[in-house]
């Protein structure tokens, strides 16, 4: 992989990590008053996949969506303001962390009903096809639990039936809240094989290795973009923090310290940083400069969010209908 591209992947992961850590740090101030599902530990999936997308390709996602939004190029200020419930937020304060959107980069939205955006993104791909637009793809990020939802199967079936330009990216982080895969899916289940059974081009990979994610996605996006049909990817990864909130939740006992430590060693950001240093693609000084620049951008976004006004009370009744029929 060329140097510029490697640094760009690192830069995206770093940005996601630093934004998430900033949120975690700010959360105890009690000014962020909505649930936050941090993706620390899962940055490589978002960064690797989105690095192969064009600005006008569509992306949709779920509750743990900060990384996807950032990797697609979503505006950080609008995101922070949204999390702070401000009028300047990407949803004018009506969505919060679980509802991010940035139409300037075709990030069409994330929602927290498990699997809820899978058919919607499939419909976006269907719209692309109906409008006979060539060379444009939709990407839907989903979690391992979402593959248990009916709409997952329904969407795979339809996407395959109509050969839609969509890439389904399953981030398998092993847990749905505190419920491990073992209580949710039979051991024999293999989602890659399942997708293949629908006639869908499918692949799997290490979701903590950003270059591997990128390599797999290049093929997937090319395939979908060429109009050959949908693609399903399963990328294994691990969330470091608690399911929802800024802390760690290993004390609950739903996962072992041994497992957690093993995954910490597979940290996508640290390992990639080490690799770049070792190969001389980056040095400590450059990394420090990148972090400093990023921190300034994040600090700006936080100041912007904090200083922004709250939405006007009239906003309660606006945007319910196109013609505002409400009282």
């Amino acid at each position: 992989m060329d140097k510029k591209r490697s640094i760009s992947l690192y830069d995206t992961m770093l940005k996601i990590r630093m934004v998430e850590e900033a949120i975690a740090e700010l959360y105890p101030q009690q000014q962020i008053r909505c649930p936050v599902h941090l993706c620390i530990g899962q940055e490589a999936v978002a960064a690797g996949v989105c690095s192969n997308l064009k600005k006008d390709d569509y992306v949709m996602s779920n509750h743990r969506s900060h990384g996807h939004y950032i990797a697609k190029g979503g505006d950080i200020k609008a995101m922070m303001a949204e999390i702070y419930g401000k009028a300047t937020g990407c949803c004018k304060g009506k969505g919060g962390s679980m509802h991010l959107v940035d139409l300037t980069v075709n990030y069409l939205g994330s929602t927290p009903i498990v699997g809820g955006t899978i058919p919607v993104a499939t419909g976006v791909a269907f719209g692309i096809k109906l409008k006979k637009i060539k060379g444009k793809v939709a990407v839907i990020f989903l979690g391992d639990a979402a593959t248990e939802e009916g709409v997952f199967s329904e969407s795979l079936n339809f996407a395959a039936l109509k050969k839609l330009p969509i890439v389904f990216v399953s981030e398998n982080n092993l847990y749905s809240v505190y419920s491990p895969l073992s209580v949710r899916q039979p051991e024999e289940r293999d989602n890659v094989k399942l997708a293949k059974a629908y006639g869908i081009f499918s692949d799997r990979g290490n979701g903590n290795d950003v270059e591997e994610v990128s390599r797999i996605t290049v093929k997937a996006v090319e395939y979908a973009r060429a109009g050959k049909g949908p693609v399903f990817l399963e990328l294994s990864t691990y969330r470091f923090r608690e399911h929802c909130g800024p802390n760690y939740d290993n004390d609950l006992g739903y996962r072992t310290q041994k497992e957690f430590r093993a995954w910490l060693k597979k940290c996508p950001l640290e390992n990639y940083e080490k690799m770049l240093l070792k190969n001389g693609l980056l040095d400590e000084r450059k990394i420090a400069a990148m972090k400093e620049k990023m921190q300034a951008e994040i600090d700006d976004a936080v100041v912007f969010a904090k200083n922004s006004p709250f939405p006007d009370i009239k906003e309660i009744m606006s945007d319910v209908y196109s013609n505002e029929v409400g009282e």
Partner: protein
Amino acid sequence: MKREITYAQAILEATDQCLGNDPNVYIMGLGVTDPKGVFGTTLGLEKKYGSSRVMDMPVAENGMTGIAIGSSLVGMRPIMTHQRVDFMILSLDQLINNAAKWRYMFGGKMKVPIVIRMIIGRGWGQGPQHSQSLQALFAHIPGLKVVMPTIPYDAKGLLVSSVEDDDPVIYIEHRWLHNIFGEVPEEMYRVNIGEARTMRVGKDITIVSSSYMSLEALKAAEYLEKDGINAEVIDLRTIKPLDENTIINSVNKTGRLLVVDGAWKSFGASAEIVSIAAEKSYGKLKSAPVRVSFPDAPTPTSWALANHYYPKFIDIINATGRMFGVVDRSEKQVGISYDVPLDVPDKSFMGPF
């Protein structure tokens, strides 16, 4: 001579004109392209517009609703059909969590212009899972619009308005209306969403009804003239947003309100309408509002039970009469017998569904 066509033909004509008028409109649903064409409402459309715009679909109501939503986010205007309301219940997640909220939860940045047509079954043993009337359920959800045309003219005009509307619209058809005839202009026209129709002007009582029950209400109103009761009949046409002004103006004039709702009584549309009258016409009411609706039980299949389950014009006549101190009429007096099946809209209806 004015042209008369059926309600089903009016829906077909509206769909045809919407497809012809806007390349972003498409229609999908189970049976849309089959030989029966959703009770004749989609016949011939595939041949005219092609299979990429007029299509059958997988039996996956929730997923397909989400797919319709997604396509609307990139500019399409889907019409989705369900042969029975009951099947769309599978798609309540996509309808309520996504379609209804998409505009709001993303700060007004996007719109979901989709129309979901669904048909209420009645009679011929449709039973508990083929005859539900869920207009109140949909109308309860902010973000959804709900229309229930009664006559062919409104069936066409409201479908055109629904397709052109930028919000998700639930378009509910009663199976017993499909074969009724009415005057329908050939050109494309619109009936505004949110406007009720005063079907009959009267001064003594306001009868508010919708869909098929409006026909029963009209029949009852004619009969009530014999008692010297001059009833005004308001056909809602749109359930949400409700045309409160038309209802309130009428109630203020007549001082009496009877709501006829082809649905369960508790927490239903009838409760909403009575509440509005109580809140806004309290001082004008001469007697307590009355409701005629379904008993709070699923629809039984046997015609012997269904005969007594569905309210009919005799129930409207008697409920109204009681408000004026008139004694109840017998079945014989109004020409109804519960000893024979009352499970078809007319003799041409021979089943099976």
